[in-house]
């Protein structure tokens, strides 16, 4: 019964989102123009894409307890391969997509196998280092493929995806991607490997004692989550029509982390909502900060408020303190504190050194 209700709610929500491009509703300044204008549709589509990408990150962080700082890399693989294959190599779109899909499985398999050798905080730093290497590579502009700072355009698009009037098609693709990720994540989380992931988050040693190999399960979730993120990168590239270095930066991974925590760590709707809300604020805060009452306030207040990251970062710190369960925590009984609390165990037990440590003390193994 509960399942039927959940499915019904999900279907209703997605159905509602699907018909958005058909209605011309005044948004009263929430967006810059009517609901179905190309500009608004593009922002909405980006919200859907980042909602879904946040969910793929939550699969790693919230459901398995793996704190990765390199998720941007896999998203960027999708963005850049789509652009490079369709312009520099002049491939057809379907060829580019097939190739990207293959790379999207191989790269996380390889890098995941190395970085999952360590756990906890060391894993976070290693994934960060790999993502940074990717970012430097893109900025270096090897053979003129990535276009360095300027980025590179996406080419060879079918007519139905080109031009301002066709933004609604892109919007529907973004919605399709969100539904795909939502269904996939629901499916894998409730499958038997999914249960092992959540068990790893709770207590990795115990999973090991039960005779399962945590490494394999972690690698599996790493590859699935990264693959889905790469797919998101492809949709983003189609939507924006180009690839730029912003999506390769560590700041982008941090943004994903913020999205998940804002929405609610370890929840499905929460992560999607967080991603959508973050994207919305990121795009709209700049315009709002130009409103009269802020423009006339002293520099000390006006300047920081015009930086979306200052507002989002501060908001995020407040949320961690006062609502660690994120937005989703508001609706769950006792969920106000649940989200992040679940994860404490997974970081505390530092599998880095391969020995069981005193759980209250992460620094036991460290040497001065």
């Amino acid at each position: 019964m509960r399942l039927a209700l959940r499915l019904g709610l999900a279907a209703a929500a997605f159905g509602l989102l699907a018909v958005v491009p058909q209605f011309s509703i005044d948004t009263h300044g929430v967006f810059s123009s009517e609901l179905n204008s190309p500009g608004t549709l593009q922002v909405l589509a980006l919200m859907l894409v980042f909602g879904a990408v946040a969910l793929t990150y939550d699969l790693l962080f919230g459901f398995t307890g793996l704190l990765s700082f390199g998720h941007a890399l896999y998203f960027a693989v999708g963005v850049y391969l789509t652009a490079i294959a369709t312009t520099r190599w002049d491939w057809a779109l379907w060829q580019a997509l097939l190739f990207t899909a293959a790379v999207a499985l191989l790269v996380p398999l390889l890098l995941g196998a190395v970085s999952l050798r360590v756990g906890g905080i060391a894993f976070a730093m290693v994934t960060l280092a790999f993502a940074e290497a990717g970012s430097k590579l893109v900025n270096q502009n090897p053979r003129g493929w990535t276009g360095g700072e300027e980025g590179t355009a996406v080419g060879n698009l079918p007519d139905a995806l080109v031009g301002v009037l066709n933004t609604k098609h892109l919007y529907w693709i973004a919605l399709g991607y969100l539904i795909f990720v939502f269904v996939a994540v629901n499916w894998v989380v409730d499958s038997s490997p999914g249960r092992v992931w959540q068990a790893i988050r709770e207590n990795e040693q115990r999973v090991e004692v039960l005779g399962l190999q945590p490494f394999r399960f972690k690698l599996m979730v790493f590859v699935i989550s990264s693959f889905l993120a790469t797919a998101g990168g492809v949709v983003y590239a189609l939507l924006i029509g180009s690839a730029g270095p912003r999506v390769t930066t560590p700041a982008f991974t941090l943004a994903l982390l913020l999205m998940v925590v804002i929405g609610g760590t370890g929840t499905r709707w929460g992560a999607i909502l967080g991603g959508a809300l973050y994207t919305f604020l990121d795009y709209r805060l700049v315009e709002w900060s130009d409103k009269a009452f802020i423009r006339e306030s002293p520099d000390l207040i006006r300047q920081p408020l015009s930086e979306p990251l200052f507002v989002l970062g501060t908001l995020f710190i407040l949320l961690v303190f006062f609502l660690p369960g994120g937005l989703a925590g508001l609706t769950l009984p006792g969920g106000r504190r649940r989200g992040l609390r679940l994860l404490e165990q997974s970081v505390r037990t530092e599998p880095t050194t391969g020995t069981v440590e005193d759980e209250a003390d992460p620094g036991v193994e460290a040497r001065t």
């Binding site: 050798r117 060391a122 430097k136 920081p304 200052f310 961690v320 050194t353 992460p362 001065t368």
Partner: protein
């Protein structure tokens, strides 16, 4: 030969800055289990404070005096900001490590955005004594003088931290806390005071790295300086072994040298100027495969 000497000394200068950042990160992690993402922001804030004072001082005294005054001010701000962050934001989340990491992540974004909003996103000219920009000849290589200052400062900081940890009461408490915090607390010592101290030392060292980076990178500072150096400092900390000062020092020298050599020879012979950055990441991967607990996993000097 002269190129090689220049690269070596420049690499050591870079390693010196990595060590200044990594030492604080490593101490904080070793004692408190906190991965401090805001460390790069301490660096940026320290560097900008120092730059701000140097613009206010105008023509007071000689350029060396102005530089020393503004550098001291930057260090002070770095230490105070770091101590405040520990007291106000980290302490209430004691023992909740994920939440502590998240707070430092939010802080790193917000602080850098604040600097960017106040002083603009583009780089600022950082005035340093003219002597630092001149060169000295070493084995036929013309080496900019600032490199020697960076190496010297890092060496002094290394000796200072090791001596502090070995010969003072607080150092003893910190070393004992890294070893077994529960036991130290059980003996009736308030380890939390050591937390604030470690954060202040870390913030001071980071601000020092910020000031020196202003000189090292051709007399300029920009809001993203901290974040970009922080990533390599993280790599240094992992290669060196989390919580180990000597490990960080050795790893910082290795990383700085490899990065300089590979970047130069990569762009010279292969037309590939990020070879150094990629080699450093490769070094990290190899370290993890061969020795997941880092270089200092086995031997450590400060004990």
């Amino acid at each position: 030969m002269s190129t090689f000497v220049l690269l070596t000394i420049t690499g050591l200068g870079l390693g010196a800055m990595y060590f200044l950042i990594a030492s604080g990160l490593s101490l904080i992690y070793g004692l408190m289990g906190v991965l401090n993402f805001a460390h790069g922001a301490f660096l940026t804030v320290g560097a900008y404070s120092s730059w701000w004072l140097s613009t206010q001082l105008g023509g007071v005294g000689s350029d060396v005096l102005r530089f020393l005054l503004s550098a001291a001010f930057g260090l002070l701000v770095g230490a105070v900001v770091a101590a405040l962050v520990e007291l106000v934001l980290i302490r209430p989340l004691y023992q909740r490590h994920i939440e502590q990491v998240l707070v430092t992540v939010g802080l790193s974004l917000a602080m850098v955005a604040w600097v960017q909003a106040t002083w603009g996103p583009t780089e600022r000219v950082y005035e340093a004594p003219s002597w630092l920009a001149r060169t000295t000849e070493v084995f036929g290589a013309r080496v900019p003088n600032d490199r020697f200052v960076e190496i010297g400062v890092a060496a002094v900081v290394l000796v200072g931290i090791v001596a502090f940890l070995r010969y003072t009461r607080y150092g003893l408490i910190i070393r004992a806390g890294v070893e077994n915090r529960a036991m130290v607390t059980a003996l009736g010592i308030d380890v939390r005071r050591a937390f604030t101290l470690v954060f202040a030392i870390g913030g001071l060292a980071a601000a020092l790295a910020g000031v020196l980076s202003g000189v090292y990178f051709g007399g300029s500072i920009d809001p993203d300086r901290g974040t970009s150096l922080l990533i390599f400092a993280f790599i240094v900390v992992v290669i060196g072994g989390l919580g180990s000062i000597m490990g960080s020092a050795v790893a910082a020298v290795l990383v700085g040298l490899v990065q300089q050599y590979a970047n130069y020879y990569g762009s010279e012979y292969l037309d590939f100027s990020v070879l150094g950055d990629l080699s450093v990441v490769l070094m990290l991967a190899i370290t993890l495969l061969v020795r997941p607990s880092g270089l200092a996993g086995k031997w450590s000097v400060a004990h």
